[in-house]
Symmetry: C2
């Protein structure tokens, strides 16, 4: 089993690699080789008997992946992307990285006859937008209100069509907001969702730019990585008539997040969160759907976090 | 008012041009110039005081439309496309004409600063597919099961994003099956829908490849052309959070179509329809949704045909 991963130097990519190395197999077949691809060479790691090849490649250059595809990977995890804020700030960059590079990857797979290769792509809850119902389900229209969401939705359509035509065996997961991300606050509108927990847990101050009653649809990094792996293991037909689906997050309000922080780390931790409404961030976050019925994903075996406390405790356990 | 039309030599394009010439104005502003674009030079016509420029241009060649865009048309009707069967037979051709050429047109508009230009594109009921509810509405997910539908859906997303970013003022109409088309039967799976009426009305035989209880969602050519014009006249904001919508067709079964044929032209006409089930065509047609609630389009003033008999009688009146 040979697995290639784009965006392998990123937060999710790195976690996925570690998890795959721990598993040592996929679908009962031993993983023999991992090809890690990113614009900078992904860090090496001790992977025991698994051969790990790290490559700095520019996936926006057509044909750049030919060497990897010629080796006929069994599974490709396509995680490389520019984030929402970058795609919004620079339409051309977003189209190039988020859409054209994906199309180029699909064409590469077609050229190399990789009909059986399972391509797992990460899409996003940001594909949704506009005038939404209170609770979304698997048949809710995708009407993105960001360029990032638009580009991801276009990739979903293309992967579905290439899969339908038997050119590739694709599956796309729409990820909820991932909480708790490691690292520092950044320019992403969703940054606060991790920051209002992570910083106080680390004895630092954080800013909450949205009201307490704002709800989010969240998933822990561990559940996301498990979902990526399950997506690679499912037979393509199991996806049904469309190769993209929304993962089962849990719905949580900012107030509930801070209550959990209080339960786990005390009032002092909560007092480190400063409430500073931000009129650039508030409407963006308010436009993200927070309530879903994810029937398809549930039936396929994708797992949600049990509750928000589990998410926080998992972060603390990992940090320790 | 300067109006440019791609696909102007086609059936819809020609009808649209004639209707615009008859109107002489759009939104109360006199039409001064029509630029008709197709891969072969669209036929000239007597347009009175309107200057008509016919141009044979290959819209799949980047920059080919620059000359037209430099003249800053107020409205662009983008009808050029390869049909469903051709897009299915040749993925590259479909992507090139149906998607890349549209993207190239959007980029051209962006380059020429045509933020105010109203771009009206024709999409299709074929954007829908998969496991659909009995009645679709404006929030039903688009999960195309053809490359044509995929390419159209990708264009919808892109036009929505370019409009949201203020680079163009786009609106996209998903067309029902158009009945009665003129001409001869062709390779399109929908060909029979016109043929089982047109041929008998013209004293010829026709083949019906689907069961009598097959329902279709149909619209007359006249209503489609009126819808294109209304779409050009609406303010962009009226489209709401997403720039594509399904037009209001009417739902009719093959049995009802043949009953209408009997009412209008007698039993002899109906007897010219031979029933020959075709297992290539039947499942395709069965996959097209036939029942819609088109609330957004209705509120915006798009008109459905009053009933199927009106559609048939309009065809007869035009033929006379």
């Amino acid at each position: 089993m040979h697995i290639a991963i784009t965006g392998a130097a990123g937060f999710l990519g790195q976690r996925l690699v570690k998890h795959l190395v721990d598993l040592g197999e996929l679908e009962g077949r031993a993983i023999l080789r991992l090809t890690l691809i990113d614009q900078v060479e992904p860090p090496a790691l001790d992977a025991g008997e698994i051969e790990v090849v790290s490559r700095a490649l520019d996936i926006t250059t057509s044909g750049e992946l030919d060497g990897v595809l010629a080796e006929r990977p069994d599974v490709i995890f396509h995680l490389a992307a520019v984030v929402s804020s970058a795609a919004e700030a620079d339409l051309d960059l977003g189209m190039k990285v988020n859409f054209d590079a994906t199309r180029s990857l699909l064409e590469g797979c077609r050229r190399h006859g990789l009909a059986e290769t399972r391509l797992v792509m990460a899409s996003s809850v940001a594909a949704y937008g506009g005038e939404l119902p209170d609770v979304l389900d698997d048949m809710t229209a995708v009407q993105p209100q960001t360029s990032y969401g638009t580009q991801k939705a276009m990739c979903e359509l293309l992967i579905n069509d290439y899969s339908r035509r038997g050119l590739i065996d694709g599956r796309v997961l729409r990820l909820p907001t991932i909480v708790i991300r490691p690292g520092r606050p950044n320019a992403a509108a969703s940054s606060f969702a991790s920051s209002i927990l992570r910083e106080p847990l680390n004895g630092e101050e954080a800013i909450c730019p949205v009201p307490l009653d704002q709800e989010l649809f969240v998933m822990s990094p561990t559940r996301v990585v498990e979902a990526l792996i399950l997506a690679a293991e499912l037979p393509g037909e199991a996806m049904g008539a469309f190769r993209a689906l929304m993962l089962p997050g849990i719905t949580v309000s900012v107030a509930q997040m801070l209550d959990t922080l209080r339960d786990v780390a005390g009032e002092e931790a909560v007092s480190r969160v400063r409430h500073e409404p931000d009129e650039r961030i508030r409407p963006l976050v308010a436009s993200w759907p927070a309530r879903f019925e994810t029937g398809r994903a549930d039936r396929l075996g994708f797992q949600r976090d049990a509750n928000f406390r589990e998410i926080v405790e998992a972060y603390l356990a990992e940090r320790a």
